[in-house]
Amino acid sequence: MTIGSVPVRFGITIDRARCMLCGRCVENCPYDVFRRDEDTIHVNSRKCVACHRCVAMCPRDAISIRQRPVDYRDHPVWTEEVREAIYNQARTGKIILAGMGNAKPYPVIFDRLVLDACQVTNPSIDPLREPMELRTYIGKKPKKLEFRYDNGDISLETTLSPNLELATPIMVGHMSYGAISLNAQKSIAMAVKETGTFMGTGEGGLHPSLYPYQDRMIVQVASGRFGVNIDYLERGAAIEIKIGQGAKPGIGGHLPGEKVCEDVSCTRMIPVGSDAISPAPHHDIYSIEDLKQLVRSLKEATSWQKPVFVKIAAVHNSAAIAAGIARSSADAVVIDGFRGGTGAAPRVFRDHVGIPVEAAVASVDAKLRSQGIRNEVSIIASGGIRESADVAKIIALGADAVYIGTAALVAMGCRVCGTCYRGLCPWGIATQRPDLVARLDPEVASKQVANLIHAWTLELSELMGAAGINSIESLRGNRDRLRGYLLDESTMRVLDVKPVGA
């Protein structure tokens, strides 16, 4: 008995009356959905991933794409997704790969938190007329300052550790050259420079064409140590040790050999065509003490001039781990929630492992406070930040700043087709194929990303103004400004927020 084919996921139709046979759909679809034969465009719907490139490029709006023209027999437990996964695995015997973030319909905590605003007695502040301060410093802060007082003259005795100065608490997270194209990285680099913030290099090394933006780059050291040498460390504005990633906690990374072209090979410092495997653990880190050694050796190597961050995936004991990280001399802890994106991950991890960043940040912040060390280390939240309201809410829950990832890609044109792992991204973002990469114009895309960051920053200042707050410091950890709406009581306890009306 054979399994047979699974039904097509997306059905494409071309309105023949509108089509002018220009052939753009054929050229634009890297998945070979379209084929031209004399005076007809043939369609193979089975190959479609709904990246919408053809729809966007068709000059006559002749193409329509519909989801699931064939339904399975309805079943609440054995959903079509479950059944299809089984069919595919029964056929191949392999792990199912997936791209982008968690695709399960878990309730989003952000959407059940509402922000507060002022009325009458505590006037709101008008950001158009009054100064709004979103400037954020990421890095170690002393617990207290020491001064010397000489007859009326005050001088500071404490030396501050180097901090990153952000014009807005929104950064772009780590997406490596390899996972995304060089044009995509360049676009982001130009955008963060323009908006006074920072981006992560991911674990793919730093390509020479990004050197002009190096003072805006946070270089990453992951278990594979790709691209890591002293020159790389010294170029970055800060260094991030990646322990885990929200999309795939507990497992490492894998860039297939086919994607390791000449250029990627130089940047990563590995041979052309070889698989780039970052193992799940760092082979020199098996405890907090080992982590501390790595943090301190990276600092030593860069003469204690660079802040060092440690990134972990949001898991249930993030709080205890973060407390360890805070005591390891690290300057910031990055918490990547289970909605974080990825170029490629086993679907089972992407969809089922980890916890939401909202809960993780709330518990990390609470733990660090209970130990009296919250102020000495910064918290960066990432993984599922979709809009400025999410930024405001996560800061109120305790983060200093956020990393965005998918949102920046969407700003560049990504349609969240979730097929990044195939390396054929039709928008030139998650691909290394030169013809596809060329589709992304860094000048244009960087403007879009910068616009997005700028727009969110404006919205954030409006939200703060409405809450009567004119400085980001006063929003940070200010859970009084949040209320839970139809959130269950136990989650509200973890978040330490009151319900609406209270």
């Binding site: 002022c118 009458v120 007695t121 505590n122 006037p123 502040i125 009054e130 100064p131 301060e133 400037r135 410093y137 802060k141 002393p142 617990k143 207290k144 300052l145 020491e146 001064f147 007082y149 005050i154 001088s155 500071l156 404490t158 501050l160 901090n163 406070r369 209970s370 130990q371 009296g372 919250r374 102020n375 109120a396 809450a467 009567g468 707050i469 004119n470 400085s471 410091e473 006063s474 929003l475 940070r476 950890g477 200010n478 859970r479 009084d480 400004r481």
Partner: protein, 350 residues
């Protein structure tokens, strides 16, 4: 709303409570009759080296023994008494105010540099969080706080504040907007030598509270002003900042201003903002903080609440309204309005 007034006689000459009563009553329309209070420094010369611990008891016979026990664990009760009150039809007596004169035993807090203060702070937090029906609302040496739900003149008459004398007086007339009017919620708020009166709302309260609580303070009064007393205690007593620097932490200059400062000043202001960002207060406020050797008044960074200063001889007045100051001192030598975030400081010079 809310009306505040403060006065210091820098020469240390003592004034009785009549003047401040009249001045605060002048600002009745800034209140709602739900809370008023006074603080006086120099109130107990005969017990000046004991801590004057003021407690509201819901039911004395039930809870006082527990408070006594807690105090006796950490030192000696030199004297204690019910605070005299005088029946007033417009004030419903819901608590019994009590005062202890207490000497902590410094040997019991060996690792501290200020063991007596730390013991008293610990006791205030402990009693307020663990003994239901008892609320420590003042704990400084030679300092008395008188507060209740009611109008300024009624609260003054209820305690007969004209019978007390001191070189610093604070007065507060409350218009509660974010929490119910209750005795504990009336101003001034006090911890050790710090007393605070405040007009406004602190929109950063959530941040400030979580910050201060990570240093062992517990907020129990359900109102935003409480954190100000604790922040001053942390920053000035425990971290060694001067009151001027503490104000720079609580109402710091804007980054744009910091960027334009000369280097020394810039480094200092930047370090303060980075280190004490969570102590910074946002929202509309005008605040006066008193300590045994002076008072400091300041407003929020964009001055959303009024603050006026007046001087006459050795006396400095700070209030919400000039008219209130003139009730106490019709002939003022100068009247000024401090800029947003700029501290006005009156130091004792004896």
């Amino acid at each position: 709303m809310c009306g505040i007034i403060a006065v210091i006689d820098r020469a240390g000459r003592r004034m009785d409570g009549t003047g401040i009563r009249a001045a605060l009553s002048m600002m009745d329309e800034r209140g709602s009759g739900e809370g008023a209070g006074y603080a006086v420094y120099g109130a107990f010369p005969e017990f000046s080296d004991s801590y004057a611990i003021h407690v509201f008891f819901d039911a004395v016979h039930e809870t006082k023994a527990a408070v006594d026990r807690e105090l006796e664990k950490w030192g000696t009760i030199v004297h204690d008494e019910e605070i005299p009150t005088y029946e007033n039809r417009r004030i419903r007596k819901v608590h019994t105010p009590w005062r202890y004169f207490f000497k902590p035993d410094p040997a019991l807090m060996p690792r501290s540099t200020t063991p007596e203060d730390d013991i008293v702070m610990h006791l205030a937090m402990k009693i307020n969080t663990t003994i239901p029906g008892a609320l420590v609302y003042s704990s400084g040496k030679n300092i008395a706080i008188f507060k209740a739900s009611g109008w300024p003149e009624d609260v003054a008459d209820f305690y007969r504040i004209q019978d007390y004398e001191g070189y610093i007086w604070l007065g507060h007339n409350r218009y509660p907007t974010n929490t119910p009017g209750w005795w504990g919620g009336a101003h001034p708020f006090n911890l050790l030598g710090w007393s605070v009166v405040h007009n406004g709302e602190i929109t950063s309260y959530g941040t400030n509270r979580r910050y201060i609580e990570s240093f062992g303070y517990r907020c129990t009064m359900f109102t935003d002003t409480e954190v100000v007393a604790y922040l001053f205690d942390l920053l000035v007593r425990r971290h060694g900042l001067t009151p001027e620097l503490a104000v720079k932490a609580l109402a710091p200059p804007f980054w744009d201003e910091i960027d334009c400062m000369e280097e020394r000043e810039r480094t200092l202001c930047k370090a303060i903002r980075l280190t004490y960002g969570s102590a910074m207060m946002n929202g509309p406020f005008a605040i006066v903080v008193a300590k045994p050797d002076g008072i400091v008044g300041f407003t929020d960074r964009i001055k959303l609440r009024p603050l006026v200063c007046g001087t006459a001889g050795m006396r400095l007045y700070i209030s919400s309204e000039e008219a209130a100051i003139r009730v106490m001192e019709p002939e003022l030598e100068s009247v000024t309005m401090p800029a947003a975030g700029e501290p006005v400081i009156g130091r004792l010079c004896v």
